[in-house]
Amino acid sequence: MQPNRLIRLQVLCPFFLFGFLLLAVEGCKQSYNPPAQKTNINLLVVDGMLNSSPGSASNFHLSRTQKIGESTGAYTPELQAQLTILGSSGDTYSFLEQGNGLYTTAALSINPAEKYQLQIMTHDGSKYLSDPVPVLSSPPIDSLSWQPKDSVGDVTVSINTHDPANNSHYYYWTYAETWEYHTVENAQLQLQNGLIVYTDSTNQTNTCWKTQASTAILLGNSTSLGADRISQAPLVIIPQDDQRLSVRYSILVSQSLLSQAGYQYWQILQKNTENLGTLFDPQPSQLSGNYHCVTNPNEAVIGYLSAGTKQQLRLFIPGLQQKDTSTPYCGLMNVPINQINWQLYDYSDPSYAPFYFTGMSTVLSKKTCIDCRVQGGTTQKPTFW
């Protein structure tokens, strides 16, 4: 054996190992621009459903796909399109363009015995048509429930519904959540038109309500059961320390029905896109909806038309969290009161607002402690609250 050789080698090792480690480090990551698209990926996206509930309007959003790499905020609405609903017995309904790609109908009276198609003429002269779809009348939502009732653990809101006619099978839900929340401190002062005023019920910034729509695709299916019943299907899981559970929470759930094909469409979309961006992604599948381009049959259209009634139900959940008694960091600061006019406020940092007066000075606080609006809510109390 020649130990001296071995020793020399060991000195060299970290260097080689470093080369080996390159596999795991950023040095091997380079930005990648997908090759030029073989086809023009500027597809029409149709988002909306034909609402057949008596006296309801239907909303459709038309937009275009964006290239990968463009900012997701660069929503490109499809403007100046003409939308028409075509009934199988020849009745037609037109839409009004509301701007930003939103098109709405007047309150319609849809005949549940007919099938309906949506026809879209874009301003570039392309014509799109959906397959005729039946009108599916959703049974009412039986109940919404939430668990656990104590304040330990994440809260799950679940839905229960059933169809005595045994006809529904595929359910689609959306919801809108609204919740009340408070700031940790009550500001005695507010700023109105740049002037300091005392807080009253009209200008308070301590209590806010925030509303957000569902973003996940929520599907239910009762085909494997003897009865057409959905029991305790989870809709939303709220972490126990989430702001939504701090004061009072409300969820308005809308239920509509899907055909089997429509269900599969949403299921693929759900699996394809709620799992983006890891190294070993599952293989995605092609989406094929029920819209077609009449003028160019090879052009894909994204979206799936369904028609039917919407059933809604609202649930309230009281605040479940213990009041936080600790004093948070509010970055309190003292600035002198303006000697000429106490209402004048000239502190330049917009993340601060006046909190209260001491004898000599105005105490300023970070807005996060005293102004609930910085967290996205509104101080306007919703009508249903």
Binding site: Q2, L9, L12, C13, P14, F16, F18, G19, F20, L22, L23, A24, C28, K29, Q30, S31, Y32, N33, P34, I41, N42, L43, H61, S63, T65, K67, I68, G69, E70, S71, T72, G73, Y75, A213, S214, T215, I217, T223, S224, Q264, I268, L269, Q270, K271, N272, T273, N275, L276, G277, T278, L279, F280, D281, P282, Q283, P284, S285, Q286, S288, G303
Partner: protein
């Protein structure tokens, strides 16, 4: 032994032989006894006591019926026409000697009745200890069998072992052949050959890759045995070329068989100087992989789970170390690897694409020796030698990495929070009871664990053990019984957050038994037959919380078990000396066994959780589902000229287990699944046609092979499929059909100063999924390229020897980039940002190119020094090309951005040091 040969030459004239009077008579039947067994019997029924050398006499087989016989009559018969003599002494002592009988008394009588046939031997051992002797062995005439006293017509069988003179290792794939008539045999995995030759004087040629060609002059009287030892090929002798293997590619019946010796494997520059069996396989035509981080390989369009990887007949489920960068076989104990990619012998089954047979050496039978190696990443040690002289040999090796220690030593936090370590160890023992019975034991263990920039610890490992008994029934007939246990396990755990601490484990066990028989009734037929059975026990997944604070819900996917059995028979039949046919049939049977709960689905509906009706419970051991079917293995060879042949083969195969992997590269987390009532076995068909031609007196081999292959019931996965902890996996998989076709070119120069090969393959692998019951189709039910579809691939492996101490090796690889599915657009729907994908696999990552260089330096070649050392320096990825391995997309600040990841983004130099003692 050397002395013996001198004796052989000296022995002339008459020999003194004495028979003592004996009075005891013997009545017994001796059936198929070895001489020691015979002696035991005699000693047990008489007062005689024998003095003899068991090793010398072990080739004698005794079949006698004695009735009132005297011992000398019996011994006369036993030793008739052999070189042995006996003498019975006054105290009933019996002395058995070779060539000369012992004088037990002082009586001096010339007895010319001794049948001292010159050089006649039942077993002839030759030991070319010196060059001069070797030359004399080549010129010497070996008489084999019992002379009949007159010229004989007809044929006789010659059997024996071909071994390496240096260490007694069996030489596999050595060719033993006559030039005229063109009769030959290739030694089997034990170095054993059996050859049916015309009686009379013949010149036998023996050649083997890496060994010096030799020849033996024989005079064949009747069936007999000749053991041959071959000497190492000494590289300075440029003129010495290995003819036989080159001829064997022309003459062998099988097509699409590639054999790489460890010598060649070690010449190929490898990542960080770690000679790698599986990387060497990747240089062969028709073999591709999805990328560098994967030792999974794809043979002729088959997926990586369709390769049966055998390590001395033990099934290795995960042959990779360190997330797939290295193969889990220590190169120091490997003898050779053999890849069957088109005509798969009927004795193998259970996988669709290929069989990779990795065989180890038996160990040095002459002396204790070993080797050690130090590389940038691993150290390894191998010991081998005889345990019982001439009976038992062993070889044991271990290999481990110090990457863990080095990771800790690196200054960057990112690395020293990472761990990565592995080891593997092997033990192989070969024991020879006698010429008819040998036993082989193989044990293998490998283990890996790593945690890279994350809190999750991954572990996986193989454990294998098997025992093989080879029994030679007669010169024409032998059998091998193999019993083995194979185990693979994978686990993943994370205990950083006590609330979510978990351990996920996956295990599979298989116990197997098989019996393989070879029967060579004559030169025109070589028959093999046998049976095998494998019992599978899979634990598909257990999720357990760790620690009392963990809130993880335990989740256990029920165990599954099955039995896979097969019987097979085949014949290699020489229709004419130029035309040969190999016809084989394998019948395989698969039973999916209880206890298990099988889900039932609405008939005519997609297998989806939503269509689940109920479950049927099956009790323990109850047969739930049977699949069975014949597999045909046919090949035909026609010798157009002596160095040109054309071959055609047709194969069907069945595979009853599936690797659930929806990632592009095989990852240790992929789990195996047995076929069950909902998941049918994979079926494959392959037809191939090849033309083989050798040039320049067989020093250059060329071949063109074309193939067309179909695969059915290959599993693909639905979007967002859940593969782990899924008790009803059938709802997440879809059956796919595939077709693969291609042409492979190979030019090979196996020996000489400049040696190596160039291969080019044009091949396509296309899959199609149009099952209406799958619930969704891929690419509208049209054919689409498989993940490993790489239409053009070319490899060049070259080695140039400057002298017998210095050589330079080059390896270059080019292939088309593999197909990928890209998100091509984003859109907003249902309140969220969604991604629109292209059709499956419609894009390709950039082409792959890599060149590696290594310079190998052997220490001095003094034969008698204790230590022989060698160095290897090299650069992997010489051009520092950043070959993308993967492309992925991720959302960053509201923008979806694409990245390509390369594994070896730079040139990586390496050095390794090996020592042999």
């Amino acid at each position: 032994m050397q002395r013996l040969i001198i004796f052989l030459h000296c022995l002339l004239g008459s020999i003194l032989l004495t028979h003592a009077q004996n009075t005891q008579t013997i009545g017994a039947d001796f059936n198929d006894l070895t001489f020691p067994q015979f002696v035991d019997r005699i000693e047990s029924i008489t007062h005689y006591h024998f003095f003899y050398d068991p090793a010398e006499t072990d080739s004698i087989v005794i079949n006698l019926k004695a009735r009132h016989a005297h011992l000398n009559d019996l011994l006369d018969q036993v030793f008739k026409n052999t070189v042995f003599h006996y003498a019975i002494g006054p105290d009933d002592n019996v002395y058995i000697t070779r060539l000369n009988a012992i004088r037990t008394t002082l009586i001096q009588t010339n007895d010319s009745s001794a049948n001292s046939a010159h050089d006649t031997a039942w077993t002839v051992e030759d030991h070319p200890a010196t060059k001069a002797l070797r030359a004399s062995l080549e010129n010497k005439l070996f008489e084999i069998g019992t002379p009949a006293g007159h010229p004989q017509a007809g044929k006789a069988t010659l059997v024996g072992y071909v071994r390496d003179a240096r260490n007694g290792e069996a030489l596999v794939g050595a060719a033993v052949y006559l030039d005229d008539p063109p009769i030959g045999a290739i030694t089997d995995a034990y170095g054993y050959f059996s050859l049916r030759l015309p009686k009379g004087r013949q010149l036998l040629h023996i050649s083997s890759a890496g060994m010096k060609d030799t020849r033996r002059q024989i005079l064949l009287h009747s069936d007999g045995r000749l053991n041959i030892e071959m000497e190492d090929f000494i590289p300075t002798l440029i003129a010495a070329t290995v003819v036989s293997e080159k001829k064997s590619n022309i003459k062998a019946l099988q097509m699409g068989v590639e054999r790489i010796s460890i010598r060649t494997i070690k010449q190929i520059p490898a990542v960080l100087g770690e000679a790698d069996v599986l990387r060497a396989v990747l240089t062969l035509p028709g073999v591709t992989s999805v990328g560098e981080a994967s030792t999974g390989f794809n043979v002729r369009g088959g997926s990586a789970d369709q390769n049966l990887i055998l390590f001395n007949d033990a099934t290795i489920y995960n042959p990779a170390h360190l997330f797939g960068f290295f193969s889990a076989f220590n190169p120091d104990i490997i003898k050779a690897v053999e890849l069957y990619k088109s005509s798969i012998p009927e004795k193998y089954g259970g996988r669709l694409s290929s069989v990779l047979d990795v065989s180890t050496r038996d160990g040095n039978s002459k002396q204790l020796s070993g080797s050690a190696g130090v590389g940038p990443l691993t150290s390894k040690l191998t010991l081998e030698g005889p345990l019982i002289k001439d009976k038992t040999t062993f070889i044991a090796s271990g290999r481990t990495t110090y990457s863990n220690w080095l990771l800790k030593a690196l200054p960057d936090d990112e690395y020293n929070s990472s761990t990565a370590s592995f080891y593997d160890a092997d033990l192989h023992i070969a024991h020879t009871f006698n010429t008819k019975n040998s036993l082989f034991f193989t044990g293998y263990i490998s283990n890996d664990q790593f945690r890279l920039n994350s809190d999750t610890l991954y572990k996986y490992g193989n454990r294998n053990a098997n025992i093989k008994w080879k029994h030679i029934f007669s010169n024409q007939f032998y059998g091998v019984l193999t019993a083995g246990l194979d185990h693979y396990q994978y686990s993943q755990s994370d205990d950083k957050n006590p609330v979510t601490a978990y351990n996920f484990a996956y295990k599979l066990d298989q116990s197997s038994f098989k019996a393989d028989f070879n029967y060579n009734p004559g030169q025109r037929n070589a028959i093999d037959f046998g049976l095998s059975t494998i019992h599978y026990q899979f634990k598909p997944g257990t999720m357990q919380p760790t620690g009392s604070a963990s809130l993880v819900t335990p989740d256990i996917v029920p165990k599954e078990q099955a039995l896979e059995s097969a019987i097979y028979a085949g014949d290699q039949f020489s229709i004419t000396p130029r035309l040969s046919l190999n016809a084989g049939l394998r019948f395989s049977l698969f039973n999916y066994l209880g206890p298990h709960d099988v889900y039932n689905y609405q008939p005519g509906q997609p297998l989806e959780a939503s269509n689940m009706l109920d479950t049927t419970h099956y009790g323990s051991g109850k047969n739930i589902k049977t699949y069975q079917g014949p597999e045909y293995r046919l090949s035909l060879r026609y010798l157009i000229t002596d160095n040109t042949s054309v071959k055609i083969s047709y194969n069907t195969l069945r595979q009853y287990i599936h690797l659930l992997s929806n990632t592009t590269a095989i990852s240790p987390a992929d789990v195996w699944k047995l076929s069950d009532p909902h998941i049918e076995p994979q079926l494959g068909n392959q037809i191939s046609l090849g033309l083989y031609k050798n040039f320049r007196s067989n020093t250059i081999e060329t071949s063109i092979e074309g193939y067309y292959k179909t695969i059915s019931n290959y599993l693909d996965y639905k979007s967002g499929a859940t593969l782990l902890l899924n008790p009803h996996i059938e709802t997440d998989v879809i059956k796919t059909r595939g077709k693969a076709y291609g042409i492979e070119f190979l030019v090979k120069k196996p020996a000489g100063k400049l040696n190596g090969w160039f291969s080019y393959a044009w091949s396509r692998t296309l899959l199609k999924q149009d099952d209406p019951l799958a619930g969704e189709t891929i690419n509208k039910g049209n054919y689409y390229p498989a993940n490993f579809d790489r239409p053009n691939s070319a490899n060049f492996v070259g080695n140039y020897r400057f002298s017998h101490r210095y050589s330079l090796s080059v390896n270059t690889v080019y292939s088309t980039g593999r197909p990928i599915t890209l998100p091509i657009a984003t859109f907003e729907l249902g309140g969220s940002q969604r991604v629109y994908y292209s059709d499956r696999n419609q894009y390709r990552i950039p082409d792959y190119f890599r060149a590696d260089l290594s310079f190998n330096m052997d220490g001095n070649h003094k034969v008698h020094q204790v230590f022989h050392n060698s160095w290897s320096f090299g650069v992997y990825n010489l051009t520092a090309r950043k070959n993308p391995y993967s492309v992925y997309f991720t959302e960053e600040n509201g923008t979806i951005k694409g990245y390509k990841l390369s594994i070896f983004g730079t040139a990586i130099p390496f050095v390794s040091y090996n020592i042999r003692f």
